[in-house]
Symmetry: C2
Subunit: 286 residues, 2 copies
DNA sequence: AACTCCCGTTTCACTATGTGGGACGGATGC
DNA sequence: GCATCCGTCCCACATAGTGAAACGGGAGTT
């Protein structure tokens, strides 16, 4: 016990969701995240130091987690993320979760624009259409769930590429093939890279008759709680209804929907606080 | 203090960690595992019911986990495994962990047999060599880390196939091609299936000049804490040193090493405990 | 509208539970 | 030999977690 420390932040009542946090949980999650950042594993001592937990407390947690198969130890005694933790999300494909969480926003977008709404994610070197809501118009762009398309000529694909970490993106581009479906399709790598830069600066992607002559498409990125792009949402319609002057308005709606989905995935736009110290219990009378 | 006072056994020799379990952890992990088995998500009420937790308690945990990004909620309020949980093990590839944990057992096996020791895992439709310790003999079987081979003609591959869940195995076999590297290689699916049955009954796999004429290989399966096969370990040498009469002895050593690695991965051979009820705190009178 | 039922959320007094300083014993290194 | 450092274990203490009950609000029924 090192005296009273009120020195820390005295952020008043910033708590947005009601229930009080559980101390044990805060501590255990901080261990998870510490270990996630340490591929080589960590010893009890350094875990205790880096999380600010008491050595006994950390030990109790680690021992419990090890017995449960969530952590493993190597011969030096270092703790590593274990099999049970790695496989946790494996059953319910995460894509199904994204699909389900996106539904409300997709439906709202569908109502607002009256056009076909698509949800897509990266799958291998292609875009996989996770979900589609078709426009009620007779003249519409028809897609279907489960369909795949090349990255280079769709707004969904270009969006996914634009926000991918550079290293991942470059490796992906090296292995993917560029389709030329219309005269507008971008097939030059250098040209595509320039386009990705424009997209990122602008905040959304436009497919101007690049996949189908007469078709126009506007897409925005969806991020998860770790800040990585996990999916992309788009509105697609004939150029007759999606003229140049309508695109900014549609883009605003698509971006709004994408932001809403990101939020429900736990994405907090104020990309902040990497390492927050764990508050340990303090005796009341210091 | 009800319950845990003596923490059970006083066996100093067994490396079982003796720290008393943490109630909150037990409860939270039971929520994780419940949600992992429910791809469609679960409501607060049914989570509380199925884990035996009090509704308030479950709520507090769920709210905290949601705020931390470990869980997400769909519009009906159902809780789902969230992005942070899915990506937890993603940084340190799990294969690196297996490698590290296997080292001691591999080195012991290497000392005991004096032959080349291989560690392999399934990667796509092939065997990926995760680690290799080469025999000190001048006449030896040389392999290297990162190498890939077809499943059908290696002891490692046959082992991985033999213990795979049948559905996974069948799908895999349908998409993989069979190499015929020597006259002994098994290329008939029906013949391979029969061999897999023999392997599973026997407990280990033998490659008798199926990948290289004059080479012999003995492999055993490695399981993780969920009971799934995650890797395979083998000893490889020239038939001149690995004669038929030496194979049972080598197989015993390989199986021992495999079992040791499985144990360090959290595998408990007494395949039990699917659903244990969570012990909740009892009201005072009991 | 008014009533009912069923959830999720919040509250609050109580005490069982997690806590952490300290002790023990085994490695490793001067 | 002595000095460190580490993981493990112990135990009295008081705080943090607990859960019954109350609250609030949406959906269905009359």
């Amino acid at each position: 016990m090192a005296g009273v420390q009120h020195a820390g932040l005295k952020t008043g009542k910033l708590r947005r969701s009601g229930a009080a946090p559980v101390g044990v949980l805060t501590k255990v999650l901080s261990i998870f995240e510490l270990l996630d950042r340490a591929p080589g594993g960590l010893q009890l001592r350094s875990i205790a130091d880096q999380t600010g937990l008491n050595k006994s407390t950390a030990y109790r947690f680690l021992a419990h987690l090890e017995r449960a198969g969530y952590l493993v130890r190597d011969l030096t005694g270092a703790y590593l993320i274990g099999p049970r933790l790695v496989h946790l999300g494996a059953n319910s494909t995460y894509q199904a979760t994204i699909c389900r969480l996106s539904r409300p926003a997709m439906e709202e977008l569908w109502r607002e624009t009256g056009e076909t709404v698509n949800l897509g994610a990266l799958d291998g070197t292609e875009v996989l259409y996770l979900d589609v809501l078709e426009s009620p118009h007779h003249f519409r762009l028809s897609s279907q769930k489960g369909m795949r398309r090349a990255m280079n000529c769709t707004a969904l694909g270009k969006t996914l590429l634009a926000w991918l970490p550079p290293a991942t993106r470059d490796e992906l581009l090296a292995h993917s093939k560029f389709e030329k479906r219309t005269p507008h399709s971008i097939t030059q790598p250098s040209e595509l890279l320039a386009e990705l830069g424009r997209i990122q600066r602008r905040g959304y992607a436009v497919d101007n008759e690049e996949v189908e002559t007469g078709a126009c498409c506007v897409a925005a990125p969806i991020f998860d709680s770790s800040g990585l792009i996990t999916a992309s949402i788009s509105v697609a319609g004939p150029v007759t209804r999606m003229g140049h002057n309508r695109i900014p308005a549609v883009a605003a709606l698509v971006s709004g929907a994408a932001a809403a989905i990101s939020r429900s995935l736990g994405y907090a736009e104020s990309g902040s606080g990497r390492s927050r110290p764990v508050r340990t219990r303090k005796t009341r009378r210091g």
